[in-house]
Every structure is written in C-alpha cells, then in structure tokens.
C-alpha cells in the first residue's frame, strides 16, 4: 500500500470515533446488570445453572453440616471452615455450618457443585472489599443474608458502535 494512503486511512479510522458512543461506563454510579441470581447447581441432574459467581448464600434450613463443601475446597483454596453455630436444626445434628474466608476464596464454585442438599449457592454480589482481613471472613449468619444488587447497565450494539446502555 502507498505510504500516504496508509496514513490517511489510519487517521480516518481513528477520527471516526469522535462521533462513536463511549464504550466504558462510570462504575460506582452505574453497575453491570446480571442475568439471574447467581451460579447455582442442580445435584439431581448434575449440571450447573449459569450465573455470576460472586459471594455465597447459605440456606440454614437445608444445610446438614456434612462438610462436603469444605472437603472440595481443601485442595483449592482452603477457604471454608466449619465452626459451631448457636442454632438447632433437625437436619443438622452437629450444628456446624460453613464459614468462608474471602481472602482465600478463588470463586471457582466447586463447593456449590459439591453440595447435595441445595444449601449453598452463589450470588451476584462481588463488591467484597474491606479495610481489614478479618472482615473478609463471613460467618454462617452473614452468609445467609440475601444481597441487594441493582445494576442496570449492559452491552448494547447500535449504529454508533457498542456501548453500555440501560
């Protein structure tokens, strides 16, 4: 290709973006929209339901304290421990439930795959930053809280290029 036409084409393709829409979005004010409530697993069919792998949610009325999630995590991140809780459940004789250290968790979701009782799922909550490491350890009581998440921005493709729109 001719040198002059090469430069002109390069300039043209760059300057076209003056009229294109901005692809980025302003994060803390706008947040990404997620499909569904997060990653879940159906142990009967043996297949996962697609969803974002964020912080876990623990259903106290279903957890039996079988420790399968902790065993699955043993070789990966060793983030799950099983402390005693002050709750009495019929299905949980030992009264132990998972406690997750998010300083170690890699969000692979294999603990969710290991749970045969529909007790441990994942949610869309990914904003887990804290000032101290000890605040990253989520107790069973903290894990049972359903997170509030209201993102509404997602990728849209229009005439003026791809952009994050509502």
């Amino acid at each position: 290709m001719n040198t002059a036409t090469g430069f002109i084409k390069a300039l043209e393709s760059g300057s076209k973006h003056i009229v294109m829409k901005r692809f980025t979005f302003r994060y803390p004010q706008e947040k990404l929209k997620f499909v569904g409530d997060g990653y879940q697993f159906d142990p009967k069919k043996g297949v996962g339901l697609a969803g974002t792998r964020g912080r876990h949610i623990l259903f106290h009325d279903k957890c039996t304290g079988c420790q399968l999630c902790a065993i699955a995590c043993e070789g990966i991140a060793e983030a799950i421990t099983m402390p005693k809780v002050d709750e009495q459940w019929k299905q949980n004789k030992k009264s132990i439930m998972p406690q997750i250290d998010y300083g170690k968790c890699v969000f692979c979701g294999l603990c969710v795959d290991a749970c045969p009782f529909y007790a441990l799922f994942m949610t869309n909550d990914y904003e887990l930053a804290s000032y101290t490491k000890s605040h990253l350890i989520y107790t069973p009581a903290q894990l049972s809280v359903k997170p509030k998440y209201d993102g509404d921005v997602e990728i849209k493709i229009g005439k003026r290029g791809a952009h994050h729109g509502r």
Partner: protein, 386 residues
C-alpha cells in the same frame, strides 16, 4: 570514522601510545526484566555492541510455582481451578486439554451438547487472549490506540464468557465430563450479535494498525525465522504458522467436534515479525467463523455434563492429549496409578517452545527491534515457568 582515523594517524606520528580496545569492554550488558513491564515476569540479559545485540541469555523461572507437583496432591476436579492460573486469559483452553486427558484415561464420553459448549468457550477464550496479547504488542511498539481498542473490545467476549460460566477470566468451565453449566436463555442471539460486531471491528484494526506504514516499517523484515529453522527449533502456534507451516492441532488431531467444523489453517510465508503479528489476526477471523458454526450446529437441548463422582479413580495407565491454545499446541501427559490423584502430570506448553526462538532471532538484530521481536513470539512467561 575518517575523522577518527585521522586522529589515530596523527597520534602515531607523535608516537603516542594507543591501545586497542578490549573486546569485552566494547560490549555492554543490559538486563531486561523481570519486573519491567516490557518483558513480563521474565528476565533476559543481552549484550550489545553499539546498537547491535550480540548475545542473548534468557533466564526463565521467576514465576515458577510447581503446579505439576501440586497436581499430584489433588484430585482432578480440585486441579481445575489452579491449572488455569498460569494464563488466566486463556483458561478454557488449558482446562480443555487436561479434561481431554482425564476423559481418555478414565474412559468418559462427553455428551454432544457439552462438547459444543466446551468448544464455544475455548474459542471465545482464544479471542479474548489474542486481544490481550495484541494490546500489549501495540503498546510496546508505541501505538497506544492499539492498547485501548483491543482492551475495550475484549469486554464483548468477556461478557459472553461471564454469561456462560459465571466468571470473567478464571472460568473453570471445561471440566472432566463436559461443561460446568448450560448456556442461559437468549444467549445464542446475544453471542452472534456481539461476535459479528467484533468481526467488523477487526477491519478497523487493519486500518489503524496493520496497514499503518509506521508499523510496517518497524516489523517487516525484522527477526526472520525461516521454515527450516522454525521446524528445527520446535516452535509452535502462530510463530510456526507465520513461518509457512500450516500446523494447527484442531486440524491435525481434531478433538471433540472440531472435525465437523469447516475452517482453514491460516498461515503466512513472509517469516518476519509482521507475519507473526498478523497470523493471530487471521486466526481471530477464523475463530469468529468457527463460533458462528458452533452456534448453528449445536443441539437444541440435551445433557451438557456427564455425572461423575468427586473422587474418580484413575486406572493404571498413561495418556497424552493436546489442544490448540492461543499460544500453540498445549498438551497434558497424565499417569494414573489406581488412586483418585494423578501419579504424574506433565504440561507441554507452547510458550516454552517459542522461547527457544528468542536467542536465535534477537542475536544480530538492533536493540530497537527487541520489543517487536520479543512480543511477536506470543510468549507468556508465567505459562512457560509453570
């Protein structure tokens, strides 16, 4: 020089002593890396004579984490999240190779829909990896627009991967037995529209970067690796294809459903840095073509994952399976001894093979050509160190 010769002649006339320079003193040793962004986590020392590189000594191992040994203490499912750490942008291809090896060793057949989903995830991952590499290649040749554009367009593919697997980069999606999760509702339409838009963007990359006369001048005819040398040194992936060898594992040893797909092996015969930079671009177009075919041919419904125990027992025996990753052939050699944990895992990665070409290409070239040659090798230090 003539001026200097004149001075020396005059000095001789005046019978002054001028000693000839020592050869070692002429050379200057430069250290590149390991913490310099221009090299990744990788150190190599070069000796320069003026502007020319005369000696290159690569020193890999800065980020060695022994993950082959780690594999021997964990079962196959626990291995998946840490095997993908070396190249988190290309995680699906790494776990794909390991899953194929496990399935071959244990004797598992993957459901057909699961095979398609795994191939789809690995193609999307290949695109997002190549864009990441292209962004780095652009910024180290001084083209900051080429850093911004691929880094932004990567979001289109990461968004799709997040919808499929749940994570943006460390997907842990391809596992022994199939794919982790089924695709969500309305995913196919979304995937097609984003991939089609992305393919149009590739034309703009051509205009601003690949057909840019400045890039052509910096890369054309630089670091020539002839076909014979490429085969002799054992390089793989885009480096091998840029030297005129049409080698692609997807075509040579088709795995899963790749023998049903229609695609070409893209290669170039110019053997220089520009060819090594442009072959990944041709591969990206081919990947878009493959993704459209996968979505077209995928069964509408069906199981995606074979139900397996958490502790699958390995029968005694060994196997080797490889896939085409973003950096070339990537294979896992797996030895089983009857227990749930593998007796030995050996990874054969494309990055380490391409490293062998680095001293060969850099010796004799100018110092200014170093980034153009080094990054064109598609070398990922963390993967090579393992």
């Amino acid at each position: 020089m003539s001026n200097l010769d004149g001075i020396i002649d005059e000095a001789k006339k005046l019978s002054l002593q001028i000693t000839k320079e020592n050869e070692e003193d002429r050379l200057m040793t430069l250290s590149v890396g390991p913490q310099h962004p221009g090299s990744g986590h990788f150190r190599f020392t070069i000796k320069v004579d003026g502007d020319y590189i005369v000696f290159v000594d690569p020193d890999p191992g800065y980020v060695h984490r022994g993950h082959e040994k780690m594999c021997e203490y964990r079962n196959h499912f626990q291995n998946i999240p840490h095997l993908e750490r070396p190249v988190i942008h290309d995680s699906c291809n790494i776990t794909y190779s390991y899953s194929l090896a496990v399935e071959d060793l244990v004797g598992i057949t993957v459901p057909r829909r699961g095979q398609f989903l795994r191939a789809l995830a690995s193609e999307l991952n290949r695109l997002s990896y190549t864009l990441y590499w292209l962004a780095i290649y652009g910024i180290f040749l001084g083209h900051s627009t080429m850093f911004m554009w691929p880094a932004g367009d990567r979001e289109l593919l990461i968004d799709l991967l997040e919808r499929m697997s749940g994570q943006r980069i460390t997907n842990a999606y391809n596992i022994p037995g199939g794919a982790r999760a089924d695709i969500p509702y309305n995913f196919k339409e979304r995937c097609l529209s984003q991939v089609n838009y992305f393919e149009k963007r590739l034309n703009e990359y051509d205009d601003i970067f690949y057909n840019n006369p400045l890039l052509r001048q910096r890369t054309e005819g630089v670091g020539i690796l002839s076909k014979e040398d490429a085969i002799r040194l054992g390089v793989t992936g885009s480096v091998l294809r840029a030297s005129g060898v049409p080698f692609d594992v997807r075509k040579v040893e088709p795995y899963d459903i790749y023998d049903e797909l229609d695609f070409k092996v893209q290669y170039m015969k110019t053997c220089d840095s520009f060819a090594r930079a442009y072959v990944p671009m041709l591969d990206m177009r081919e990947s878009c073509h493959i993704i459209r075919q996968i979505i077209d041919k995928m069964p509408e419904s069906g199981p995606v994952r074979e139900k397996l125990q958490f502790n699958i027992k390995n029968p005694p025996g060994e196997t080797y399976k490889r896939v085409e990753s973003g950096r070339g052939a990537l294979g896992y050699h797996l030895v089983g001894d009857g227990s749930p944990k593998p007796y030995r895992v050996k990874a054969s990665v494309g990055s380490f093979r391409n490293l062998l070409a680095l001293p060969f290409l850099l010796t004799g070239s100018k110092l200014g050509d170093m980034p153009a040659v080094y990054w064109s090798l598609n070398y990922w230090p963390v993967e090579a160190d393992r």
